[in-house]
């Protein structure tokens, strides 16, 4: 499990980071176990797909994302994703695979509280930015209104 190794060493000097971390992944606390389990489950679900099927589903995710970009409402970026989760406007959250683990856990925790699906995109922030049709990197995005796309109904099924 990745989580304990970064928690103690790297982030204890940053007060707020460490605070968020203790909420999520303190091994001896009840809530930490849940946070750790949650992240563990999330990582496991995207690991072992057969290659052909993964390629096909990433293409369809990209298509659906392109449709959302054209016809729906979305926000890009960590701050606005949290804001959309807090005021319960977000319907689906997509996180790139090179998102820092603390940030990923935090977004997943918020999504768990708000009962919003999280999809771990099969690609890094550069790929996610390209999939959104943007020329910048996108680490996380939140879909507020899917427009014509069926991304909300189809994608959380495989997570």
């Amino acid at each position: 499990m990745v989580i304990p190794s970064f928690s103690i060493d790297t982030f204890l000097s940053y007060k707020t980071y460490a605070l968020q971390l203790r909420v999520l992944v303190s091994p001896d606390d009840e809530e930490g176990r849940e946070g750790a389990l949650f992240s563990c489950y999330a990582q496991r679900s995207t690991a072992m797909a057969p290659v052909k099927k993964a390629k096909k589903s990433t293409e369809s995710i990209n298509n659906r994302l392109a449709l959302v970009m054209k016809s729906g409402k979305y926000t890009l970026g960590y701050k606005t994703v949290l804001r959309s989760l807090r005021n319960s406007k977000g319907k689906l959250v997509i996180i790139a695979n090179n998102c820092p683990p603390l940030r990923k856990s935090e977004i997943e925790y918020y999504a768990m509280l708000g009962k919003v699906g999280v999809h771990h995109f099969n690609g890094n922030n550069v790929d996610l930015g390209t999939a959104c049709g943007k020329y910048f990197r996108v680490c996380c995005l939140s879909i507020i209104d899917p427009g014509d796309s069926d991304i909300i109904k189809s994608i959380p099924g495989d997570h």
Binding site: K15, A18, L19, Q20, E31, L82, R83, S88
Partner: protein, 135 residues
């Protein structure tokens, strides 16, 4: 999709003097007000946690160790970490916005919340809320 920043939700403050302290949302203003055009909430939290009480302690010592110092604060949503815990303590009648405008009203409101939090601590419920977050 589910609104979770509701009164009764236990949160952890991330910034400011009370960073790392646990608090409970008393009143939430999702769309902000004219003075504060951002989502914010009124929280009542623990400034000084009660100390650990052991069976060996005398009654006088238990009383001294179970003391809680409370604080009231209006805080931005971005400076808060919500948790999955709730604390259903009825603080709506003592803690309201105008009690934060003047010093002596705030002191009396703090004293009242201190009393209510202390009696909740003594029942032994919501143990997570009254333990200090180690970081």
């Amino acid at each position: 999709m589910v609104k979770f920043l509701k009164p009764g939700k236990a949160v952890i403050l991330l910034n400011g003097r009370f960073a790392g302290r646990k608090a409970v949302i008393v009143r939430s203003f999702d769309d902000g007000t004219r003075d504060r055009p951002y989502g914010h909430c009124l929280v009542a939290g623990i400034a000084k946690y009660p100390k650990k009480v052991i069976r060996k302690d005398s009654a006088k010592k238990t009383a001294k160790k179970s003391r809680v110092k409370a604080f009231l604060k209006v805080v931005n949503y971005t400076h808060i970490m919500p948790t999955r815990y709730t604390l259903d303590v009825d603080l709506k009648d003592i803690v309201n916005l105008d009690s934060l405008h003047s010093r002596d009203k705030k002191v009396t409101a703090c004293k009242e919340t201190k009393a209510r939090l202390e009696e909740r601590f003594k029942t032994g419920k919501n143990r997570w809320f009254f333990t200090k977050l180690r970081f």
